[in-house]
Symmetry: C2
Subunit: 344 residues, 2 copies
């Protein structure tokens, strides 16, 4: 029996924060509007609602109750991508990232062993991003940071990001890549399609950018995890590999190996919402590269009674890998001896 579960993909936001528009002198940020007990809206400048959230989005006590219910020992908390604010002035985003990271560090400190943190960094400015990354790892003792799948439309193969990857590799910081600002979102405005079609494509694009942009080649020790089971990448890997084979003039400008060679080089979370897709994912990237994740506490989350992974009859050893060991390896927390999180 696996006695504990580490959830690599879970979000927490501060219950409130300063009025960023008046602080920084320009708009575009979100604010929290608590309108009823345990209910709040994340509101844009123009008053439109980005998202309704409940107490489980900001209250760790409430989160712990759910963790108890779902048998989750430890959550690795990260902010929600809409708060990245890569579009803001770098120095402002730097300050804002510090605010978010300090909040997360407080939560982690209050509940030792129950929460770990992925920081956020002002990725639009590599120097600031590295500075905050160093603080996240060295001072706040986060195992890594969460980054968006693009930086104001620049894909993750942009050379401006290479010094950041180098710093992450040297610091041993794990990178959790989360889709946001989805490609083609002007065509995805109806039916929640930005989340349902855009996010899987955005994540496939992020993985392909790492592969074809030579990021994996340049930073061989960088540890990276892509959200939502790698998006549409695992299922379209055959097409991507065929593209590399058929059009090396286009795909292989950076002298990289065939795409299949990078499978096993990165982690993905387990969020597929389908037993057959999860099995396909395990077969494609290998059971040692899939990490349990829930996307808690959001509507597209995979937790609770309907959790897909609980419907898969996994051999004990593979379950232990997915629920515990793979997370520890990705996070760089298991170098010599095995650690069961429930034993702390």
């Amino acid at each position: 029996m696996v006695s504990g579960k580490i959830d690599i993909h879970a979000h927490l936001i501060p219950p409130e924060w300063p009025d960023l528009k008046s602080r920084f002198g320009y708009g575009g940020f979100l604010r929290m509007e608590h309108y009823a007990p345990g209910r709040a809206r994340m509101v844009r400048d123009d008053g439109s609602v980005f998202r309704e959230v409940g107490e489980n989005a900001w209250n760790p006590e409430r989160v712990l109750e759910d963790m108890e219910r779902y048998g989750i020992t430890t959550m690795v908390l990260s902010t929600v991508p809409v708060l990245f604010s890569y579009w803001a002035r770098p120095e402002d985003c730097y300050e804002w990232s510090q605010f978010l990271n300090d909040h997360l560090a407080q939560v982690v400190a209050l509940y030792p062993g129950r929460f770990w943190g992925f920081g956020t960094v002002p990725l639009q400015d590599t120097d600031y991003a590295i500075r905050e990354l160093e603080r996240c790892i060295r001072e706040l003792h986060f195992p890594g940071v969460e980054i968006g799948s693009n930086v104001n439309g620049k894909n993750l193969d942009d050379p401006s990001l290479f010094p950041f990857y180098e710093a992450a590799q040297e610091l041993g910081a794990a990178l959790f890549v989360h889709p946001w600002e989805m490609l083609g979102r002007e065509r995805l405005q109806r039916y929640f399609l930005e989340w349902l079609v855009g996010m899987p494509a955005e994540t496939a694009l992020a993985i392909c950018s790492f592969i074809f942009g030579g990021v994996f080649e340049r930073f061989p020790h960088l540890r990276v995890l892509f959200a939502h089971g790698g998006g549409s990448f695992p299922f379209t890997l055959g097409r991507i590999a065929k593209g590399y084979q058929a059009r090396p003039d286009l795909c292989n400008v950076n002298e990289v190996a065939p795409p299949q060679a990078y499978v096993g080089r990165f982690w993905v979370d387990s969020i597929t919402h389908d037993v057959r897709a999860l099995r396909f994912l395990l077969e494609t990237v290998g059971p040692e590269r899939v990490v349990y994740g829930t996307d808690y506490p959001f509507p597209l989350g995979d937790f609770g009674d309907s959790s897909v992974i609980s419907q898969l009859e996994l051999p004990e050893e593979i379950a232990e890998r997915i629920f515990v060991r793979n997370a520890l390896e990705f996070l760089g927390l298991q170098t010599t001896e095995p650690v069961a999180p429930s034993l702390q």
Copy 2:
């Protein structure tokens, strides 16, 4: 033994065509530049090359040799999406579509039983599109037409297309939906990603537009096939279904059934480039909804010795379905049993 194969996804273009820029008085069209025996370039106004093509792109005799080699009995030929020209003036695109369709009809007539045709229509103008659709079916005796996955950025749930779908349903015309003008293509300019990431996303978007836009509900007898194994749709169906369940306020504005209910309602071709993905596809949409296709003659095509489907050991009955019967049913050439599973 399956004695023949119908290839539902194969492209043929005319060897040459009039100078459309001087004919219509504005640019944006492609022209053919034959620069060596059996070699040509499809060239844009500015002289840049869209694609190099060989004789197998325009010479049916050459195509027949390959069909012999690959055991393909019949190819259902369609034009290449870059020639759709939905962006042109409707009356010009109408004339151009007639040119392309007349060419295809000639090829079909020259080699009876070896080639069938999917016409193209000026989809930017519903009236013209219906007029040419009627001509394709009634006069040119095509079993259907090929349409793009969007019309100048409008998704396929756009109500302006409903009269066209209605006409197709009434005429019994099969619709072959091919991805083109990929969403987010400004972010897919490197590494062939427009084809490798954009196309699968574009096709998933097309299927979701049919589902959530209520197109399947409105036109229960319309027969539709989506290219490239349905793109990323089959693998992300769990996520899409979860979205419908979690956010009906966003997904279900048109009072449709859950997405899973429409699986079985449409066809896909077999082009996945991966044995495991093809098996997953067959399990997801069912062996009666997968139609053999090659994307001949292009570099991302799945034909010849490396053909993925030939690596799958299919039971005789399923092979016969995929190679022959499913195509006939989709094309409406075998009409004894009901095609649309009852959804209502």
